[in-house]
């Protein structure tokens, strides 16, 4: 499957909110308080106010459910959301990001599917995101 780089997204998170055991599994919320993104076609910062709602599956994997707002360096706002799977045993963290924007310059984001390869680094999660061609 062909793809090309879209952006590298670096998230800054604050203290985890452990909601605990819910009917669907253990829920942990990772609030996003900032961050940055950079790619050949867009770059900017991550606004505070989003988060990643992480549910623990009974098989030891986690389901990710992230929502953040991106602000490009030229002032456009982009809604970004992804679902994903984190499997720590197999060092597998992959996401399916979607974007919505009203800015004509970035309307190409409304029309693409992407895949993210995530990694939890000491200063926060990093998601290398590629457009599926």
């Amino acid at each position: 499957m062909e793809s090309r780089p879209l952006m590298v997204l670096r998230l800054v998170t604050s203290a985890i909110e452990e909601v605990g055991s819910t009917p669907r599994g253990g829920l942990s919320i990772f609030p996003v308080i900032g961050g940055s993104f950079e790619g050949a076609r867009l770059r900017g910062k991550v606004l505070a106010g989003g988060g990643d709602w992480v549910t623990a599956n009974t098989d030891g994997t986690f389901v990710l459910d992230l929502r953040v707002t991106l602000e490009t360096d030229d002032g456009a706002l982009i809604h970004m959301a992804f679902t994903g799977i984190r499997d720590d045993v197999n060092h597998y963290l992959r996401t399916l990001p979607r974007f919505e924007t009203a800015a004509p310059k970035y309307a190409f984001l409304n029309r693409l599917l992407a895949v993210g390869i995530g990694e939890i680094q000491p200063d926060g999660p990093v998601h290398v995101t590629e457009e599926i061609l």
Binding site: M1, N57, T61, I85, D87, N90, L96, R111, L113, V115
Partner: protein, 150 residues
Amino acid sequence: MNTRLLMMLSVKVAPAQNIGAVPLGTRRTVPLSGGTFEGPRLRGSVLPSGGADWLLLRADGVLELDLRATLRTDDGALISLRSFGLRHGPPEVIAAIGRGEAVDPATYYFRTWPRFETAYPAYAFLNRLIAVASGDRRADGPVYTIYEVL
């Protein structure tokens, strides 16, 4: 991005149900009438009732796809498939697809994100993977080439 082939999924469809103009766009539901899938690690059929593709044509001309189907492997396991996708392209290509003509899939964008759920241990690996697919809308239904994201 490294991927490997998971399966080719060929879906047969019944006549569409045209719901029409809804607040989010133009909605059309296409029930599934069966199909087959085959890959190196699994193969079987698409159950002929209960699944559909819920299509929404957006104001920007992009068609959003929301497919749900149940797969049954040749050794009897049931696998739930849910797949979100996007389809768009030049107006003449989209019109030709609408007329049921054979269209080169390279001339338009038809990509989906299949997600799988199963309770069968032999196929539990499907619960743990992210996949992407490339679609080819043929007259009798779409054919998806589904890849596991490694």
